[in-house]
């Protein structure tokens, strides 16, 4: 446990002193701020009646900042350190690969969630600053949607960060790691929807495939969370996926040092 704490403190310290952390944070907050402003703008369009609330629309495009930020915060974790030789130097001390993977995961996940917590300031700022917003609290600051959406980005985020680390453990090039991460995230985001679309053409075990496709459909889970319903099945899906990705990353890192 001591080794894990030392590694985690080091990772957090590196995040705090590295310029790229602040650049990534600025990009993320700029993008989420723009997306919130855009959602707000759409919601005020008089031609759209009964559409989603700004917060629902905003969380609906959570994948855009995810695709930008997660490769940025995970690509160097193993790929960059392996190329520079730092990973080898690290493993010359009595550390275990899973301790290193876990420390990097917790640090990256912490940073990812910190950015989302900061991003939640946008709806709060709109609520406090826009004239008359406090009279329509259900529209601008719907608490169940906000909490549900946050739980969703927190749980799905763990899988996506772990996937980014797995991508980084597969290669020595940070660029390749980022591209692998983006491809893997796109696959995770769209696998359920794609399976549902191609299912009628498969002609075999249609119900089985449909059930699995529905289970993998990220946006169906998101829809439930945004209605304030916290379902345990997606929590299990994202949790087990995170464990699997971290386990595989540990195996690859062990052979990479």
């Amino acid at each position: 446990m001591r080794t894990f704490r030392v590694l985690l403190a080091h990772e957090l310290h590196l995040l705090a002193i590295t310029a790229s952390t602040y650049i990534a944070a600025a990009v993320f907050l700029g993008l989420t701020g723009f997306l919130y402003w855009f959602s707000l703008h759409q919601a005020t369009d008089p031609s759209v009646n009964g559409g989603p609330t700004p917060v629902q629309s905003w969380f609906g495009v959570f994948w855009v900042p995810a695709l930008v930020i997660i490769p940025q915060i995970t690509m160097r974790a193993f790929a960059g350190e392996s190329r520079s030789g730092m990973l080898g130097a690290l493993f010359s001390t009595p550390v275990r690969p899973f301790q290193v993977v876990c420390a990097k995961f917790v640090a990256a996940y912490f940073f990812h969630m910190l950015l989302w917590v900061l991003a939640l300031l946008f709806p709060l700022m709109a609520y406090w600053l826009l004239p008359g917003a406090q009279h329509s609290a259900d529209g601008l600051l719907p608490l169940p949607t906000l909490l549900g959406g946050f739980v969703f980005v927190a749980t799905s985020g763990s899988l996506y960060v772990a996937t980014g680390l797995l991508a980084s453990s597969l290669t020595r090039s940070t660029l390749v790691a980022a591209l692998l991460c983006i491809c893997a995230l796109l696959l995770l985001l769209t696998a359920g929807s794609l399976l549902q679309q191609i299912n009628p053409g498969l002609h075999v075990a249609t119900d089985y495939v449909a059930a699995r496709a529905s289970y993998l459909d990220t946006f169906r889970h998101l829809d439930l969370f945004l209605r304030g319903i916290v379902d345990t099945r997606p929590l299990f899906l994202f949790g087990s996926g995170t464990m699997l990705a971290l386990g595989l990353a540990t195996l690859f890192v062990k052979n990479k040092a």
Binding site: R2, L7, H10, H13, G85, M86, G88, T93, P94
Partner: protein
């Protein structure tokens, strides 16, 4: 417990090593490593005793770094066993690494950390108790002369020499029994090499140091013993003097005298037919020529050569001294012998 391996498994390894009566703190027993179909090291065995400084030499691609990485627990061997302080590296890597300080080739360091921050982090990782971390880091920095100039500086701003010192200070943390340094003097200027050499020499006697380098005079001056590897095998092991006797069986002498080469040969060859005389063809303004005289080490003439020459050419000898072959010559001879053996076995 480590298997009773010895260097006698390898050619040139039959040399008796004084420091090895005690159990070795570094031991490799028949290590093999293959990458795909390529054999990087083959049945490599070595032993290093406590307090010894051992040079680990070999041409590029000989298997030095692979061996060091296996000993450091960074890479598994395909077969064979490695032990650090008697602990099997493959089975108990964490325990073995507690006794080990390793500086890899090129010494990668985090650019964004300050020297003291980096060393404190490494000390904690090596299991130094929290209360002793600062004292341990200060001690290592003191020994590597890092305290005054570089303590608070970012690693990324350090010169190559100071980066190497940081790497060695890191290897010293935690009081290891074994320090493995992979090319610690690579890319350094002569001043920096001198200070790193002093630093490494000061480590001798307390910890076992295994050090690889291409700068052979450095190794000769720093190390108690050398191990030469080629094509993944130990081709020579022992003190420089022992290897000299084994690989360069001829004694060499330098002579500056006002005589001709022909006169010298006419004097020496009747007494020692295996003698050789090489000299500069043109005499200096005072008629003095320089010669290199080669004699078999076992020749009776080798011991009393000066007296013999002085008797033959009284007053004409200006300079005479023995020229022992340096490590470079031993290295070249040992590696050539290995390549010749390889070629013969293929035929």
């Amino acid at each position: 417990m480590p298997a009773s391996a010895s260097t006698s498994a390898s050619p040139g390894a039959g040399v008796t090593v004084p420091g090895l009566d005690a159990p070795p703190v570094i031991e490799a027993v028949n290590l093999c490593k293959t990458y795909g179909g390529v054999t990087a090291i083959e049945n490599l065995s070595l032993r290093v005793g406590r307090g010894e400084i051992v040079g680990f030499l070999g041409p590029n691609g000989a298997g030095k770094s692979t061996t060091m990485r296996i000993l450091s627990g960074l890479m598994p061997a395909t077969s064979g066993a490695a032990f650090i302080s008697g602990i099997p590296v493959a089975w108990k890597p964490e325990s073995a690494k507690m006794h080990l300080g390793y500086m890899p080739e090129n010494n990668p360091l985090p650019e964004d950390l300050r020297v003291v921050e980096y060393l404190r982090w490494r000390a904690k990782l090596k299991g130094v108790p929290w209360r002793r971390v600062n004292a341990e880091v200060d001690g290592a920095m003191e020994r590597c002369d890092l305290v005054r100039k570089t303590r608070g500086r970012l690693v990324g701003t350090l010169s190559k020499g100071f980066r190497q010192r940081v790497g060695i200070a890191d290897a010293l943390l935690g009081g290891p029994d074994v320090i493995i340094l992979d090319e610690p003097t690579i890319g350094l200027d002569p001043h920096q090499i001198l200070s790193i050499r002093r630093l490494i020499k000061n480590l001798g006697g307390r910890v076992a140091v295994l050090i690889s380098s291409h700068i052979l005079p450095e190794i000769e001056q720093m190390c108690d013993r050398v191990i030469i590897v080629n094509q993944g095998r130990v081709v020579a092991s022992g003190t420089t003097a022992a290897l000299r006797a084994e690989f360069i069986p001829r004694a060499k002498f330098t002579l500056a005298a006002a005589v001709t080469g022909a006169a010298l040969e006419a004097l020496l060859l009747p007494r020692e037919p295996a003698a050789s005389v090489e000299g500069t063809g043109r005499p200096g303004p005072d008629g003095v020529r320089r010669f290199t005289i080669g004699l078999p080490s076992c020749s009776a003439l080798a011991d009393g050569l000066l007296a013999f020459l002085w008797g033959a050419f009284p007053g004409k000898i200006l300079e005479f001294h023995a020229t022992p072959p340096d490590l470079e010559e031993i290295f070249i001879e040992a590696t050539h012998r290995c390549w010749e053996d390889e070629t013969k076995s293929r035929k």
